[in-house]
Amino acid sequence: MTEVGEKIVSLLPQLRRFAIGLCGDVSQADDLVQTACEKAIKNQNQWQEGTRLDSWVFRIIQNLHLDHSRANTIRRDYALNTAHQAENCVDGVRALESRYDLGVVGHGLDQLSLSQRSILLMVCVEDMSYRQVAQTLDIPLGTVMSRLARARQHLHRILSPDSSGTIASKNKNHTDPTKVVNNVR
């Protein structure tokens, strides 16, 4: 195995966690992680030794997800009336299985923008410093902080039961399949 390959394998649980948090769907997350890792292994010369390998792969995952979401939006626009589309909508059972149950937090994450979501995951779950996030995503430190603050305020609004009426029903969406379908992006 290559050195980077070995490290990537040991990072897999973490990479999956990030991807699941990002896209909210386990099988999609696994596809994302696979493509990202293959890419990382192939282009391992581009990784600068001494920097965090995980954050480098996080960035690849995030970019892939962004491309994927864009492609999906385009596809959806073109294929509104196809049987394929109908099939996807009806297949609630599959959606139920594939949607990882992150409960109300998952719902909250869904409502954030992709960049807010990934910054939130990097800082709050993966223990990256603001500076590391800024370097990884190649954005200014101030932008990291403002996006992160907005993401948390937004999430807080969704999570706190007293803030709005819609939250009460979302709190018990674990058993509600329609809610789960809604959660699938």
């Binding site: 394998v9 966690r17 992160l148 948390r152």
Partner: protein, 290 residues
């Protein structure tokens, strides 16, 4: 934050209790000094305390629901796909480094006049190959040399084999139509010599039936596309007749040396340059007029 501009302004209550700074406090991004200052101010500031709670709670809830995900077993399919990708990369790297260890030995430190001329020559020949143009300046370069150029197309190979008419001191190129194995043998020798030998070393090959020879890389240079090219010379004994020849080959993306041209020196009283189409690899047969 660690961006310390002026400790005094940084520690002013307005800056300390700014929302972003409170978030940085929660996330452990501040210095001990800043932390202590905030902790002194917090009990007196209800709004700030609420914000701190907000940042704390949002972080905790995300952590709590996501952290355990890393304890899940990694799907076998994912793991094996990544191992396969790593294996493929490793093999590719090994191949590249194997070829790279040869290349540095070939590098000529500073391109001299000859190398520059060679670069031009090979570029020119390549352009001829593309344009089917064959004229002018090139013949001057090759004065006093009887030149048979065999331009082979992509993947092409100098397939002309030759026999010498010793009495007339004229070289007849004879295609040995039925000697694919000999061609292959010779081709392998050339490829091997160009890939593995430093300039000046010879690779001897032997076919049997009085046919043998050697290939000797002479110089190495890079063409404009940055590919390595090597000039080499060959001596081939064909049933008692010695034939010396020269050639230039450049390595392509497929790691195969492709002949750009070959030179068979003759007695020098006439020069001729014959472009040949990529398909026809037998330049001249029994050339009285030469």
């Amino acid at each position: 934050m660690s961006d310390k501009i002026d400790p005094q302004t940084l520690l002013s209550p307005e800056n300390l209790m700014a929302p972003d700074n409170l978030m940085a406090y929660v996330d452990g991004e501040l210095s001990t000094q800043e932390n202590e200052a905030i902790e002194r101010l917090l009990p007196k500031d209800k709004q700030a305390s609420e914000l701190v709670d907000l940042f704390q709670q949002s972080a905790t809830s995300v952590r709590v629901s996501l952290l355990p995900l890393a304890d899940e077993p990694v799907p076998e399919k994912l793991l094996s796909a990544i191992l396969a990708a790593d294996e493929a990369h490793k093999r590719e790297e090994e191949f590249n480094s194997a070829t790279a260890t040869i290349a540095p030995a070939l590098i000529i430190k500073k391109p001299g006049l000859f190398e520059r001329a060679m670069v031009r020559l090979s570029d020119y020949l390549l352009s001829c190959q593309e344009n089917r143009r064959w004229s002018g300046p090139f013949t001057v370069v090759c004065a006093s040399v009887f030149l048979i150029a065999v331009i082979s197309g992509a993947g092409g190979y100098l397939g002309g084999y030759f026999m010498a008419d010793n009495n007339n001191k004229k070289i007849q190129m004879v295609a040995l139509e039925n000697s694919d194995q000999l061609k292959l043998h010779h081709q392998q020798a050339v490829q091997q010599a160009l890939t593995k030998l430093v300039s000046g070393k010879k690779l001897n090959w032997e076919w049997g039936q009085g046919i043998s020879g050697f290939v000797e890389p002479v110089r190495t240079f890079k063409n404009r596309s940055g590919n390595y090219c090597r000039e080499y010379r060959e001596e081939t004994v064909l049933q008692g007749t010695l034939i010396s020849s020269k050639g230039i080959a450049c390595i392509g993306g497929d790691k195969i040396w492709q002949n750009i041209y070959s030179i068979i020196p003759g007695n020098g009283h006439n020069e001729s340059l014959s472009p040949s189409s990529p398909v026809h690899l037998v330049p001249v047969v029994g050339s009285k007029e030469l």
